[in-house]
Subunit: 195 residues, 2 copies
DNA sequence: CCTACCGATCGGTAGG
DNA sequence: CCTACCGATCGGTAGG
């Protein structure tokens, strides 16, 4: 039996790079670092990838697409705003926890993308945030959410979730579903006991 | 009149470094970069600082101390938990917005500290988070907050605030006080209309 | 604060 | 996938 190792090498490079970029940051990770972890020479990496930045691009846009697609599915269901917010948070957390190392890189290393990709990336992020903002505005119109600064609230909401990759461990006590539930509960209901 | 430029040079180096570390990251900022922005040669920097890392240490521990002292003042006032939470958030936002570039460096570049300082830094951060956790636990005991995962909630709360330096501009519409009020309101009262 | 310079390391290429 | 190597750049020091 011939094992398909060849096609996996590129993915192996990307996976190891993801882990190193998360731990040390993109700029502080050298191609020699990466190569030695994989067990080949640095020069050999370039048979599989074009450049160091290409690896970062792959990680960032893969994650961006996952987030986007996941959110679009939620939107297509056309439910009431509070349920949609709940589902959107759940979908966000699910994508995030599926590969928390890639998520961490996605959230903190994107600024090392070169101009063209940086612009594309920021456009996608902006558009993603706007979808959340729309849910909050809809909720206000539907009379289920208070009047608020929707953009501010969305940034606070996403930030509180996005920090997770820095402490989330799959073997921890909280499942992705519980995390989503906790976050949604705090943001929708607040901490105060309702009287 | 003789202007005291000599004593200001070190601060000027730290300020410029703060700005560059925020924009490009610590690892991607070279001492030559920094020197040329200041208008001297790279070698001349070392008349004022011992090493590149010393600059990072100065920024990180300066901010850590500011956060710490500010929170201790809030705690010494011995108020009820919900008011203390409100004040703690306000104090945190105030420190954060006073120098948002330094805050951004503090939050995302600390991992480049060498072992000894890294440990010290993480100990301080842990102890800071624990003070917030204690406020939530007190709030539960006092019957003003719901039963919740206090650690999780604090991490979500601090994360949502700490992301701010990436978008906060002093000339923006929201004052530090309004930001603190918005954050506290969401976390304490939630988005849902109380019925 | 500068000139001159150090050894180490960087991302990447040529050619096999 | 390797050897051999490129030019560029890194943090930092010596000596003035």
């Amino acid at each position: 039996m011939i094992t398909k190792i060849k096609g996996n090498r590129k993915q192996q490079i990307i996976d190891k790079a993801t882990s190193l970029f998360q731990k040390q940051g993109y700029a502080a990770t050298s191609m020699r670092d990466l190569a030695s972890y994989i067990g080949i020479e640095a020069a050999s990496l370039y048979s599989h990838i074009k450049s160091k930045e290409e690896i970062l691009q792959t990680i960032c846009f893969q994650m961006a697409n996952d987030f986007f697609n996941s959110l679009e599915k939620v939107e297509s269901e056309n439910l009431s705003a509070d349920i949609r917010l709940k589902n959107a948070v759940a979908s966000h957390v699910k994508v995030l926890t599926k590969d928390s190392a890639a998520s961490a890189v996605f959230f903190s290393e994107w600024r090392h993308l070169s101009d063209k990709y940086l612009k594309e990336f920021l456009d996608m992020r902006n558009s993603y945030e706007n979808k959340f903002i729309q849910i909050l505005i809809d909720g206000y119109k539907e009379g289920v959410f208070k009047k608020m600064d929707a953009k501010f609230t969305v940034l606070a909401l996403l930030s509180s979730i996005n920090w997770m990759p820095s402490w989330y461990k799959p073997e921890g006590q909280l499942s992705p579903e519980e995390i989503a539930e906790n976050v949604t509960d705090v943001f929708i209901n607040g901490l105060k006991i309702r009287s």
